[in-house]
């Protein structure tokens, strides 16, 4: 048998591809496929059933979910949109919404007053820019202070009385360090996003802010200087070399009972080693605080511009995040509830360790929205590191950071 020449093979392949493509195109010409990028390792447990239900309610509509790892998912959704091939909706950190909105990559979400009021205070602020909402909050976390009761007891402290102020936190951390030889406080100062988050928790527990509603940088304030100075004061009673530590490494230290106090989110409750006697309390507050505070971090479902089915994508996102479906999602994934739905009281009654994570919400502050969020984050990290390494005073570091932030707002 005579072998086919490469050109004949190429031609035949092209015809085959065209022939295969034609019926597909014509058969689904009237259907709409909602492309949805979800971050993680697998599709959210509650989603398959909800998607089936949505598809059943919308004949001709199908949802195509692409699960992308945490490290790449947001960059993928963003670059696809920038390249003119947007997905319908994607799971995005709410901090990126301003940047996406200003570049016309996402569409505003029409949210009724009733919808806004259904959330805990300040949650809607995390997705609001220029008076409009740009995403449906779908994952929410707050922070609280975990403490090792055994280490507190060994240091001569009452294990049932965790610190409530920065001064108490410093004194108790110093006592643990002195009496037990292990680190008192877990200070996050690595070149990593959690360093910025960590500082914002100190800022928001002292009534400070980074940027106001009109886009003015408000970081250079006595509250912020107090917060950074207090954070710097913790260096000697924290783990040595804090600029090499972020949350995961500190969790390892806490699990190894090498750390007495750790600031983190509710997910840690199920990650600590068995046998560690721990408790959790609201974040200690600074001298200018008006109540308990915390950084409010949300991730959102953002709807991308230019797909031709934006309204349908909004409807789908609204369906996934309605009070009932959202609470089911939060319960499965151990997330702080976004809304004060009836199930929350039950949740707290069943597991009181949820309480500190919910109590801080009313005085919490959102992740600031910047046009260049990574730029903002780098400025925050450099500011914290300069103080932790003893290379700048809190006043100077705050003033420098406030000036640098002008470029990124």
């Amino acid at each position: 048998m005579k072998a086919l020449s490469p050109s004949v093979l190429a031609g035949a392949s092209a015809v085959a591809i065209l022939a295969a493509g034609l019926p597909i195109g014509s058969a689904f010409a009237q259907d709409t496929v909602i492309r949805f990028i979800q971050c993680g390792d697998e599709i959210a447990e509650t989603y398959p059933e909800l998607i089936e239900q949505f598809e059943a309610d919308h004949p001709g509509v199908s949802v195509e979910v692409e699960v992308v790892g945490w490290g790449e998912c947001q960059d993928k959704a963003t670059t696809l949109a920038a390249a003119g091939d947007p997905v319908g909706l994607a799971y995005m950190g709410s901090r990126t919404l301003k940047q996406l909105a200003l570049n016309g990559l996402i569409v505003p979400i029409p949210m009724t007053e009733e919808e806004k009021a259904s959330y805990y205070p300040h949650i809607v602020d995390t997705v609001t820019f220029d008076g409009q909402q740009w995403g449906f909050p779908t994952a929410f976390s707050t922070k609280a202070l975990y403490y090792n009761k055994g280490l507190m007891e060994a240091a001569g402290l009452d294990p049932e009385t965790p610190p409530t102020t920065w001064d108490e936190l410093y004194e108790m951390s110093a006592a643990v360090a002195e009496e037990t030889g292990v680190s008192g406080y877990g200070l996050i100062a690595k070149s990593f996003d959690s360093t910025a988050h960590h500082f914002l928790n100190w800022l928001y527990t002292n009534n400070g802010s980074v940027i106001d509603e009109d886009g003015n940088i408000t970081l250079d304030s006595p509250e912020a200087i107090e917060a950074l100075a207090a954070l710097g004061r913790m260096v000697p009673v924290s783990e040595p070399g804090a600029t090499a530590y972020e949350s995961a490494e500190l969790r390892a230290l806490f699990n190894d009972e090498q750390l007495a106090f750790l600031q983190s989110g509710p997910w840690e409750r199920v990650r600590f080693n068995e046998g560690i006697d721990w408790g959790v309390a609201p974040l200690p507050t600074g001298p200018s605080a008006t109540g308990p505070g915390t950084l409010l971090i949300t991730d959102s479902l953002a709807v991308f511009n230019g797909t031709g089915y934006e309204d349908l994508a909004i409807e789908f996102a609204r369906f996934l995040t309605n009070p009932e479906n959202q609470f089911a999602y939060e319960s499965v994934h151990g997330l702080t509830p976004l809304r004060p739905v009836p199930g929350v009281d039950e949740l707290v009654a069943e597991d009181p360790t949820w309480k500190p994570f919910i109590d801080g919400i009313p005085n919490g502050g959102p992740e600031p929205l910047f046009v260049d969020y990574r730029g903002f984050q780098d400025v925050m990290i450099d500011m914290v590191q300069s103080v932790v390494l003893g290379e700048a005073t809190a006043e100077d570091a705050i003033a420098t950071a406030a000036a640098d932030l002008e470029e990124y707002k």
């Binding site: 960059d75 963003t78 949109a81 920038a82 003119g84 940047q99 996406l100 570049n103 016309g104 990559l105 100062a189 690595k190 070149s191 990593f192 783990e239 040595p240 070399g241 804090a242 600029t243 090499a244 530590y245 490494e249 390892a252 230290l253 190894d256 090498q258 260049d372 990574r374 730029g375 780098d378 990290i381 450099d382 590191q385 300069s386 390494l389 290379e391």
Partner: protein, 293 residues
Amino acid sequence: MTGTRSAITFAWLLLLPALIYILTIVGYPLIDTINLSFTDASLRPTVNFVGWENYQDIFNAEFGGIIVRTIVWTTFSVGLKILIGTCGALLLNAAIPGRTLFRILTMPPWIIPIPIGVFAWGWLYNGQFGMISAMLEGLGLTSGPTEFLAYGNTAFWSTIVTDVWIGVPMVTMYLLAAVQSIPKDLYEAAWTDGAGRFYRFRRITLPMLLPAIATMSTLSLIFTFNSFDIIWILTGGGPRGQTTTMIIDTYKTAIGSYKYGAGAARAVMICLFLSVFCYFYFRLINKVSRQGA
């Protein structure tokens, strides 16, 4: 005359597939990157021509320090890889029992996926759990945990050590092949003439290895200059930018902040920098080779 012309045409025809390949794989992206570097391309759908603005911004910023840091980082990393790789190749070429086993044992740093190896190094450098700090403390050289990645100076050298660890096997294997290809009769003749071990190394092994070392150094230089994942995983360019090299800065600008135009300008600078470096390097090696011959 006609014969010459048809021979030239034939030569061009033979070159054509390679030319098309090079233009598609190298030429188009390069030209597109240069073009992008003169724009303010970002997430915005519109793109404006900004002339030399991106290049001016580079030199107005702290890029000078980043260039110097990159050169120092690359020089030490490549230098150590070549030095250790050459010694390793000579040792693995020696007729010793279990030579094959030693050759196999050289490979793991190269075989292990880079991120996994780097994560392992990250824990080794940790002061609380890491083996290196514990050993130093055990030997009485330090009095407490040493956090290698926490401070600019130690973080900088730690990233070099990890890069050397990953890069040495490739250099060793390449140079081992070069050592094995040196004709044995040269050594036999030198030995007959009474040449000692060091003399044979200096006058036979080293000159014969020089072209391979030159090639390996150039390849290693390019890989090392563009080494991203090691620094990114270990330090993220910190603390306070002390491990930020040109490629890390380019990534932060282009991908982190979505400033594609500014990022492209940095990428063009890297390309220019490497081209100039390679040009002078090859000239130097050619000169050394001629002197050796």
